[in-house]
Symmetry: C2
Subunit: 205 residues, 2 copies
């Protein structure tokens, strides 16, 4: 375990905690107080650490992502859907009026774009929650960006799919899709800040 | 306080907690155990609740956003920059090799796009951290999306600026920019999931 800690850069106490929480499979026991860990353990440790630190996921959310990653029998589209289920989306408690208004906006958007997704998908609920919250805060003017955001999201999703489609095994496609979805969010957030700073400098600077 | 709780939908114990944490300014004291709260308190309470629940921010991150929101004296571009400083970005601890590689990628991106931003801006550091983490996880192939993401980010930032530029006072521009930046991230994340589901269904379904 000392070697595993050194190789991965994760402290021994943290490795033990991940083992207890089931975020890391146990090593192969070689004696009463020794176990053998392999490269898969190092990779998994780095992934867990990164999902917690960069992805900002909670321990239980990391468990869901790993479960999606480890269930590798279904066809690619189904497993990608499962991985999505495991990825966290913010929830919101909003009033019935705001929810109805938001649901109408989302329904129109999905119909106009002919997006193929279940009406009770977690991302649909998340979208309704965010739009409804904007309205409850008196900022429904921000919903005007929705269509242009959706255009951008389509381009982003095409880039995402191109990036995973060039991989060879279903296993690597799914791992890359999960990692790419979580870290892609973080990439986009950072790029959006930089592009905003540039646009603001050019317009108001 | 009972009325404030009822109006905002936030439990009294939570309102007291926000007051102690300085997330909500104190009401105007009218007697030893009564205070008057106004519409600004209701709005602020809803915003705090939404930043925590939908934005997924921590208490201390909410404090930073509110501080950015309340500092309204500088010119618009400067205040937008200040607001950005207060907005949270994920951090990452990565090795020197991965950091150097990532910094090179980011420097090239900024130069090619001629984006007007400081090389030590928090979003630049965030971008370096995410890219470096992807490489440390053995997923540097995901960096191929960077240019297409940056194209999308430019379109998104233009939509963001158009949306705030139509507002009249500097005060409302800044509030809308802060709210739009935090909730815009959540909108994008949800839309990206939906667009991915659609693209995956069409390609692999």
């Amino acid at each position: 375990m000392a070697e595993l800690s050194k190789e991965s850069g994760v402290p021994v106490a943290t490795v033990k905690y991940y083992l207890r929480e089931g975020l890391l499979p146990p090593g192969e026991r070689t004696s009463r107080n020794q176990a053998r860990y392999d490269d898969a353990h190092v990779r998994r440790l780095r992934l867990v650490r990164a999902l917690l630190d960069v992805g900002g996921l909670s321990i239980s959310e990391v468990k869901e992502v790993l479960a999606a990653l480890d269930s590798r029998k279904a066809p690619v589209h189904a497993v990608l859907g499962l991985a999505h289920q495991g990825l966290p989306l913010a929830g919101a408690e909003i009033g019935a009026g705001d929810r109805e208004w938001a649901r109408g906006r989302v329904r129109t958007l999905l119909a106009e774009r002919d997006w193929d997704c279940a009406e009770d998908a977690p991302a649909v609920e998340a979208l309704v929650g965010v739009l409804g919250t904007l309205r409850s805060l008196g900022h429904e003017e921000l919903a005007v960006v929705l269509d242009r955001y959706a255009d951008a999201a389509e381009r982003i999703a095409e880039a995402d799919l191109d990036s995973v489609a060039r991989l060879e095994t279903a296993e690597s496609i799914v791992e890359s899709a999960v990692v790419g979805t979580v870290f892609g969010d973080a990439l986009l957030v950072a790029l959006r800040r930089l592009a905003q700073a540039d646009a603001s400098a050019k317009r108001f600077g």
